[in-house]
Amino acid sequence: MNTTKIRITALLLLILSVFGGYFLYSTETSKDGQFGNIPFKLGLDLNGGTHLVYEADTSKVAPSEIKGAMSALRDTIENRINVFGVSEPLVQVEDATVGGESVHKLIVELPGVTDTEKAINIIGKTPVLEFKLQNEGLSTTTEYTMDQLFADTGLTGRLLARADLEFNQNTNAPTVSLTFNDEGKKLFGELTKNNIGRVLAIFLDGRPLSTPVIQDAITDGKAQITGQFTPDEAKKLVQDLNYGALPLPVSLIGTQTIGASLGAGALHASTYAGILSFIVIAIFLIFWYRLPGVVAVIALAVYTILNLIIFKLVPVTLTTAGLAGFILSIGMAVDANILIFERMKEELKRGLSLEDAIREGFARAWLSIRDSNLSSIITAIILYYFATSALIKGFSFVFAIGVVTSMFTAITVSRTLLIAIGIKKTNALTKFMFGNGVRK
């Protein structure tokens, strides 16, 4: 390639990088800059927050319906959380196989919410509403368990469209009026048509709230709960029901709360460590490899900027392990450059001219670079697949991005810059600049 073209390419690369750096700075700090404010997405361990893991009890749900029920559960809980104005909550379903059995989990992440009590209450208070039919032929003298007294009907809070608070016109007693969705309307209609005279008990959180007798087939999908409520209790029940009756009972199996100060401290320490390690590596590179070392440092700077832009735009949620992975990848990114330089030195020793040594160095180092980085990528993929926590997933993702971009910057940036310097004469000065280490 013609030297002028390469020099222009090199210049363009440098300008782009400076621009990239400016982009990073402006989107992070100012709100009215040209690009607006696009802050880095920080995970819980850098921001503070609460991470809850629930296990959903799917024992009463047919296997084919589990996915739908878990999805409804997810939506319900997300609605609940949104009411409380948590910024960027994360609610997701995660299935696992433990000891041969399927476990259906729900992961809830509430960044910035450090009052775990409040968080669990927001989710926990979602009521479980069930309609159960009282079994017939029971003796009045025996004591029965709840399960023996009542049978499930399949009519649950999952099928509720809305609840309203109403006041009885005569007694002014508060009643909760329920309206079912289409599926619920149909089921309710059938239940009432086929069971006139029996008690259809309304259970809330496992306890019977009201036990009316079915008088008639009800086909309009509406039901009323008249019980001993105070107006406040009724209002709260209506509110809870509207935010979503849980389709499945859940139990808390894992919690993680990180205080905001701990998170901020971790972020500060990670950033400091990152900057410091960059500086130390840069000093080492310049000292040992001299002029190519300077090229390597510039390539590293471009590498860092490129990675940070990717993290910002994808966006990649950064965690402490993720930042550790990034710092690790900075150390490893140098590798491709070193491979190339060592090759170059060998070619110089064999008597090649500087220009040819550079080209030969790149050409022959490529295979090594490709193979060795591939093994790192394979490791990252397997890690990501088996990761059990966001922390590890974050690490493997950042690590994989780092390996790929390091290959890119070494091959493009380092190569372009070295050739662009375009030193053609091989004399004592250039030998020094491209020599290395300490004079023996």
Partner: protein, 300 residues
């Protein structure tokens, strides 16, 4: 080349390290963190340096069973207990902070048995698959090389080096766990996997050069022995291996000293592992090739 010439010495160093590590693992066991075992960790910070005994006296409301409490930093404590139910957690936090209005809970982690079991299963599977993938990868990458040592033997040598890289950090952490209470958590497993990936990275560079020199040797019909060729390859890649590991170790050392507490054990595991990995790639991997080839010749 000295690495090949004195390979017996390097083998013995490696064997000694592995033996000490295995001793550590077998006699002290591995201190598994709550990620694997289930349990709870609470980190609380007070307005002044806390008195452990006073705090312990306050923790009588719940039956905690076996628990451990240590100071951390100037004003904090870390309490490790069995897995706590919601109610127990609230009571415990109240008990921990009751004498001090400025006290706060900085961090709380609780892992139930299901999550612990899930992690144990995934951790062992991931280590197995990474080792398998690496062996397959090397065998495939070096499939063109069959003389004098067949390509699958390269894979075999790589595994030997990898085992060394996994056992040594685990051994160190077994000792640290016994003497300092350092725990093995999911991040430690992650560190092991990264070390595996990195160590192979290193080993491939040397094998690559060996392959290239073997090829050159054939083409030029020069009469170098396999041992000489491997020796030349090692000396040619020596500077590069050391320098790359050096920059990585620098980054990790800075991270260990200046980075956040959450990743300190992680960076330590990586430091030990990558140092062990570099050692194994240079001083074990290639010499083993030579040893294998000598055995092969003896058999013939």
């Amino acid at each position: 080349m000295f690495v090949i010439k004195f390979r017996k010495i390097f083998y013995s160093i490696s064997i000694a390290l592995i033996a000490v590590s295995l001793y550590g693992i077998l006699s002290h066991g591995l201190k598994l963190g709550i990620d694997f075992k289930g349990g709870s960790i609470i980190e609380a910070e007070y307005s002044a340096a806390p008195n452990i005994d006073t705090i312990k006296a306050n923790l009588t409301n719940i039956d905690l069973g076996e628990y451990s409490i240590r100071t951390t930093g100037d004003k904090g404590v870390i309490l490790r207990t069995k897995n706590l139910s919601d109610v127990e957690r609230v009571t415990l936090i109240a008990d921990l902070t009751k004498d001090d209005t400025g006290a706060s809970v900085k961090r709380f982690d609780s892992v139930g048995p299901i999550l612990g079991e899930e992690l144990r299963a995934k951790a062992s599977k991931s280590i197995f698959f990474v080792i398998l993938a690496i062996v397959l990868f090397i065998t495939f990458a070096f499939r063109g090389v069959s003389k004098p040592v067949s390509s699958w033997k390269y894979g075999l040598v790589a595994i030997a080096a990898l085992l060394h890289d996994v056992i040594v950090p685990t051994g160190v952490f077994a000792f640290l766990g016994y003497y300092q209470g350092v725990e093995i958590d999911s991040l430690f497993v992650t560190a092991l996997l990264v070390v595996l990936g990195f160590s192979v990275h290193d080993t491939i560079v040397v094998f690559d050069r060996t392959r290239e020199n073997l090829h050159k040797n054939n083409k030029e019909k020069s009469k170098k022995t396999f041992s000489e060729i491997v020796g030349i390859s090692v000396s040619q890649t020596f500077a590069r291996s050391i320098n790359t590991s050096l920059t990585t170790l620098i980054a990790l050392a800075v991270l260990y000293v200046y980075g956040p507490e959450a990743t300190q054990n992680f960076s330590l595991a990586l430091l030990i592992g990558i140092a062990a990995g570099t050692y194994s790639s240079i001083f074990i991997g290639s010499p083993l090739l030579v040893t294998l080839e000598k055995w092969q010749r003896k058999e013939n």
